[in-house]
């Protein structure tokens, strides 16, 4: 076991998969000579060469389309969006090409799109978005969003080995702030499986990525008040692990859905809808969503702090829900 940062875990997964399978290669802006804007691929250009670590022009649509073509020819490309915000430029290639190939003729499109996303980095409206909701209702896509180094490495390896297109949402705030132990040997974290990261009895907090840490901090605060939170880390957003969510809610009968994307029409809304449809008889209180408001991410740090879901928001909601 070795302790690594979230960023190092991602880097290790890429390195090991490229070493294991010569069909795996990388494309993206400044990922080669410079090693990536966040330095995830530092040293890769020297180790794997210019044909497997390709510096692309500033054209997300162009290099994502090239990657889709390579995937159709049997390669396993990993595309880096410098910031997840820029993924909208490649929307057509992802949604209308990569996601639909299987439905059109059974074509496999094993492409991974790495998307550094998330707030709390003072990046403003163009470098802080959580765009998972844009892709959430697209059949044919898979989406993951790890919260810790173990899952970051295991989910990336699983994504690269998967035959479907996967968007891998990696949280910028966690890159160098979260550390954890990971095994020395090869492992994957299966796609489509949520994980209970904290057992609890009173309220389920269903969440993912950086918000897992907010939920865990709130759980500590509430423990002193005798309110026991169970924290469910979704890990995979598409497909959602319905059974993992339902098992927790059957136990606690109450649920908070916590996410840092804008409020309307995304992962949180879908989890709430599923619980309302399938778990109504098990619920002893209202479903509560805690999210960012439906506005662009503010640039001003105090406003960004206000915009983000905070520990005190979870604590307040849990107190309200515990009273039912």
């Amino acid at each position: 076991m070795a302790e690594v940062t979230y960023l190092e875990a991602i880097s290790q997964a890429l390195d090991e998969e490229m070493t294991r399978d010569s069909n795996v290669f990388l494309l993206g802006e400044d990922i080669g000579y410079y090693g990536g804007a966040f330095r995830v691929t530092e040293g890769f250009y020297e180790k794997f060469g210019q044909w497997r670590v390709i510096d692309t022009p500033l054209s997300e649509s162009g290099f994502t389309g090239a990657a889709v073509g390579a995937a159709l020819m049997g390669m396993r490309p990993v595309v880096e969006m410098q910031f997840a915000d820029f993924i909208s430029c490649a929307f057509d290639q992802i949604v209308n090409v990569a996601a639909k190939n299987f439905y059109r003729w059974g074509g496999k499109t094993p492409i991974v799109i790495r998307a550094p996303f998330g707030d709390s980095v003072h990046g403003g409206a163009f470098h802080s978005q959580c765009p998972e909701g844009f892709f959430f209702n697209v059949p044919g896509l898979k989406m993951v969003a790890p919260s810790n180094p173990y899952d970051a490495k295991g989910l990336l390896k699983a994504s690269i080995r998967d035959d479907d297109p996967v968007i891998y949402f990696e949280h910028k705030f966690l890159y160098r702030r979260i550390k954890g132990n990971i095994p020395d040997e090869d492992y994957v974290v299966p796609l489509g499986k949520a994980k209970v990261v904290r057992e609890g009895a009173d309220i389920s907090v269903i969440t993912y990525s950086a918000m897992v840490h907010v939920a865990l901090e709130a759980a500590q605060v509430l423990e002193a008040e005798g309110i026991s939170l169970e924290v469910v880390d979704l890990r995979t957003l598409l497909p959602l692990d319905k059974n993992g969510i339902y098992d927790s809610v059957k136990k606690t009968s109450k649920a908070i859905i916590l996410y840092e994307a804008t409020r309307t029409g995304g992962v949180g809304a879908e989890v709430a809808a599923l619980l309302s449809e399938d778990m109504f008889d098990h619920l002893d209180g209202p479903l509560i969503r805690i999210s960012a408001p439906d506005t662009p991410v503010p640039y001003s740090p105090p406003m960004e702090e206000f915009y983000m879901p905070r520990v005190e928001d979870v604590v307040k909601a849990a107190r309200r829900l515990a009273a039912y």
Partner: protein, 81 residues
Amino acid sequence: MTNNKITDAHSLIDILKEAIKKEHDSYDYYHKAASIAVKPASKKMFLRLAEMEQGHASELTRHLSDLEAQIHIDKALTASF
């Protein structure tokens, strides 16, 4: 963040590193005082003060790590490769 702000952040890093060193020195100072204190009340007070200094050092270290992590993100945001 502009390059000036990145420079400011580096100055803050130097300040934090110096502050952490001062807290460690204070911890050693009080710990040493506790070891030579004869009265139990004095020993207890020095140990409590040493523990407080350790707490300050931990808080400053956490802040330093956070600032260093943010500097990497700021470089990416401003493309100051």
